[in-house]
C-alpha cells in the first residue's frame, strides 16, 4: 500500500486538476487565437508528472520536456506565471520570451526549465547531478523526456557517464508511443524504453503512467537509490497522448479505437479520495485557473525593453 497521506493525495489531485483546467482553457482559446499554436497538449498525461514530482523535494532539480503544464505545476509553480507566459504578458514567468513552447523556470523550487531542442535536458540534468555529487548536497536531478527523444545521442552519452559515475540522476520517460505522427515501433528496436537500462547496468522500471501512485512509488525508489549514492534509474511510464501532437493537429494518423481502453488519470486518482473531495478540488482548481487567466488578460503586454533583458548578468 502506498505511503501517501490523504493530504498529499489531495495536493496531487489539485495539481492534476490545475493542469487539466489549463489544458481545457488553452484548447478553448487557441481557436480564438489568444494562445500561440505551439502548445503541445498534455491532457491525459497528467498522472506521470504529478506522481513523479510528488516524490521529489523542493530543492531537487527538475528538467522537463514540456508537453502540457503538469511538470511545472507538480513541482509547485502557480498557474499565474504559466498562463501569463502563454498569453505573452508581463506577469508571465518569462515575460513573453517563453510561451507556447514553455520555458518556465523557478530555481527556488527546482524548476530548471526546458530546452526546446529535444534531448538537450539529458546532459543538463547530468550537470546538475554532477554538481550535487561534487557538493554532496543530497539533491536528485530528474530529466523528463518522451519516447521519441530516446533517439538522441545525448541520451546515451549522458547515461553512460552517469551510470559510471553513479550520479543522482533519474531518467523519466513518458512513453506515449508517438513522436508527432510516427510510431515508436518504426524507429526503435524496442517499444519498452526501460529495456535500454540493461546496457548501462542500471535499473529500468516500467510503470502504469495513468496511475499517479504507481508512478510515485517507482520514482520514490529511484530517488532513494540516487540519494544513497547508488546511481541513476531509468523509469518508463506508459502513458496515452489523448490529444494531437500540437493543439490543432488533425491527427489523421490515428483512429478513435485507440482510446477504447483509455483510463482518465484524474478518474483513477479520484477513487483514492473520500466523499466529494475530487469534485471540490476540481472546482477549486478551475476557479484558480480562471482567476489567473483574468489576471493575465489584465496584465500589460511586454514592451521592446524585454528584448534587452537577461542577456548578460552584471555581477
Amino acid at each position: 500500500m502506498s505511503s501517501l497521506s490523504s493530504d498529499k493525495l489531495e495536493t496531487m489531485f489539485y495539481r492534476m486538476a490545475l493542469a487539466r483546467s489549463i489544458e481545457r482553457l488553452i484548447q478553448k482559446h487557441t481557436r480564438e487565437h489568444k494562445f500561440s499554436g505551439w502548445w503541445h497538449p498534455g491532457e491525459g498525461q497528467e498522472a506521470a508528472p504529478i506522481g513523479a514530482t510528488a516524490a521529489l523535494e523542493d530543492d531537487d532539480y527538475l528538467w522537463y520536456q514540456g508537453r502540457g503544464s503538469a511538470w511545472a505545476l507538480g513541482k509547485g509553480m502557480k498557474p499565474g506565471p504559466i498562463l501569463g507566459d502563454l498569453l505573452g504578458k508581463m506577469n508571465g514567468a518569462t515575460r513573453g520570451k517563453g510561451g507556447g513552447v514553455p520555458h518556465w523556470a523557478d530555481y527556488s523550487i527546482g524548476v530548471m526549465g526546458e530546452g526546446a531542442t529535444l534531448g538537450s535536458v539529458y546532459p543538463l540534468a547530468g550537470g546538475s547531478a554532477l554538481a550535487s555529487k561534487i557538493r554532496k548536497d543530497g539533491r536528485v536531478s530528474l530529466a523528463n523526456f518522451g519516447d521519441g527523444t530516446t533517439a538522441r545521442g545525448t541520451f546515451h552519452e549522458t547515461m553512460m557517464h552517469a551510470a559510471a559515475w553513479k550520479l543522482p540522476l533519474i531518467y523519466f520517460c513518458e512513453n506515449n508511443g508517438l513522436l508527432v505522427g510516427t510510431r515508436l515501433s518504426d524507429v526503435s528496436p524496442t517499444t519498452n524504453i526501460a529495456d535500454f537500462a540493461a546496457g548501462y547496468h542500471i535499473p529500468g522500471v516500467t510503470v502504469d503512467g495513468q496511475d499517479t501512485v504507481a508512478v510515485y512509488e517507482a520514482t520514490r525508489e529511484a530517488v532513494a537509490r540516487a540519494r544513497a549514492g547508488e546511481g541513476p534509474t531509468l523509469i518508463e511510464a506508459k502513458v496515452v497522448r489523448r490529444r494531437g501532437h500540437y493543439s490543432g493537429d488533425p491527427q489523421n494518423y490515428r483512429s478513435e479505437s485507440e482510446f477504447d481502453d483509455y483510463r482518465d488519470p484524474l478518474d483513477v486518482h479520484a477513487l483514492l479520495l473520500g466523499g466529494n473531495t475530487a469534485a471540490r478540488l476540481l472546482e477549486e482548481a478551475e476557479a484558480d485557473v480562471k482567476a489567473a487567466y483574468d489576471e493575465a488578460m489584465a496584465a500589460p503586454s511586454p514592451d521592446a525593453s524585454v528584448i534587452e533583458r537577461d542577456l548578460y548578468h552584471v555581477a
Binding site: P123, A131, I134
Partner: protein, 327 residues
C-alpha cells in the same frame, strides 16, 4: 610582484590552479584532463584537486558542454576543455543554445559561470577537422563572451577573468602559440579584463586590427614596414565579444586606414563584421576601403606546407599594408 618565463598553455594552467585554489566551485572536465590534458594546460591539476574536480570524460563533446551548462545553471563553475575548436559543431546545441540562451529564454537575471576552452587554428598538419577557427560562431550567438589570447601573459590574465565572469565564456586558445613563451606575472590578482583591446604597437600610417596567432605576425610585418616609412599601428583585440570598439574606431580615426587580419577563413569571418562596422560608423574618417586578410576559403590540408600557404603570412600582411598605404 615577480614574473616567470613560461609557455602559453602553462600560463592558462597557472590561472586554473590559482582560481581553483581560491574558489572550490570551479571544476574542470574534458578528455584526458585528469592526466594532464592534450596540450598540457591541465598538468598537475588532478594531483592537487583530486578527480572529483578534475574529471575525465569519454568521447562525448555534446555531453561535456551540456554537463557544463547544467552544472552552471545549478550554481557551479565548470571549465571544459573541448580539445579542438572544431568540436564546437558537435556540441553546437549545448554551446550556442543552452549556454548562450538558457538564462535569456527563461527570463532570469542570474549569474551563469562556465568556461569552454576551444583550442583553435593551425599547428602544423593537424588537418581540416582539427584546425578550424570557430570563434566567429561565438560572435553570432548573443549570450556568450568570446576571448582569444595572443600571448602567454594574456592567456593567464584572460583565463582568470573568464573564471570570474558570471557569463559563459568561450576561451579560444591558439594552438599555433601553445608553446610560445612569455613573461607572465605571478600575482594571483593579475587579470586581463574581457573586452579591452591592447595597442601592441602604436603607429600613424594605418591600423592593423588583429588577434590570436596573427598578432605576432602583424607585429613582425609592422617592423619590416617601418624601414619603408610605413608606421603601422597594431591592435590586439583580445576579446571578440564584447569587442573594444572604442579602441578600434579611435585608432582608425587617427590613422584613416584599416585592415583586419585573422587566421579564420575570410568569408564571413570576424573581419567581415569589423570592416562593416568601421565603414558604417566612421566612413568619413577613412581614406581607403577597409581591407581584410584571412585564411583562404578552402578546408585546410593535412600537409603542413600547404596549411601554411593557406593562412596569412608575415609577407602577405606586409604586402596588404603596402597596398593600403598607397591608396
Amino acid at each position: 610582484m615577480s614574473h616567470e618565463m613560461m609557455g602559453y598553455n602553462a600560463a592558462m594552467g597557472l590561472a586554473l590552479v590559482e582560481e581553483m585554489r581560491r574558489d572550490d566551485s570551479i571544476f574542470i572536465l574534458g578528455q584526458g584532463v585528469a592526466t594532464g590534458g592534450w596540450f598540457g594546460a591541465e598538468k598537475g591539476l588532478a594531483s592537487e584537486f583530486g578527480t572529483d574536480r578534475v574529471i575525465d570524460c569519454g568521447i562525448s563533446e555534446a555531453f561535456e558542454a551540456g554537463l557544463a551548462a547544467g552544472a552552471s545553471i545549478a550554481g557551479m563553475k565548470p571549465v571544459v576543455n573541448m580539445g579542438f575548436g572544431d568540436f564546437a559543431l558537435i556540441a553546437g546545441d549545448e554551446i550556442y543554445h543552452k549556454l548562450a540562451k538558457w538564462r535569456y529564454m527563461h527570463g532570469l537575471d542570474v549569474p551563469m559561470h562556465a568556461v569552454i576552452i576551444f583550442p583553435i587554428g593551425t599547428m602544423g598538419g593537424a588537418g581540416p577537422e582539427h584546425s578550424s577557427c570557430t570563434e566567429v560562431l561565438g560572435m553570432h550567438f548573443p549570450g556568450l563572451k568570446v576571448v582569444v589570447p595572443s600571448n602567454a601573459e594574456d592567456a593567464k590574465g584572460l583565463m582568470k577573468a573568464a573564471l570570474r565572469e558570471p557569463n559563459p565564456v568561450l576561451f579560444h586558445s591558439v594552438q599555433g602559440l601553445g608553446w610560445s613563451r612569455g613573461d607572465v606575472p605571478l600575482d594571483p590578482e593579475f587579470i586581463v579584463p574581457i573586452g579591452k583591446a591592447a595597442i601592441k604597437r602604436p603607429g600613424t600610417s594605418l591600423s592593423i586590427i588583429t588577434y590570436g596567432s596573427m598578432v605576432p605576425r602583424s607585429l613582425e610585418a609592422a617592423e619590416a614596414l617601418a624601414g619603408e616609412g610605413i608606421d603601422a599601428e597594431v591592435i590586439d583585440l583580445r576579446s571578440l565579444v564584447p569587442l573594444d570598439w572604442d579602441c578600434v574606431l579611435s585608432s582608425v580615426s587617427r590613422t584613416h586606414r584599416a585592415m583586419v587580419v585573422h587566421e579564420a577563413a575570410k568569408t564571413a569571418g570576424p573581419g567581415a563584421e569589423i570592416a562593416a562596422q568601421i565603414q558604417e560608423r566612421i566612413f568619413f574618417d577613412l581614406e581607403a576601403p577597409v581591407m581584410r586578410l584571412g585564411a583562404r576559403d578552402f578546408p585546410l590540408a593535412q600537409h603542413a606546407d600547404l596549411e601554411a600557404l593557406a593562412i596569412p603570412s608575415v609577407d602577405a600582411i606586409a604586402a596588404m599594408a603596402r597596398e593600403l598605404a598607397a591608396i
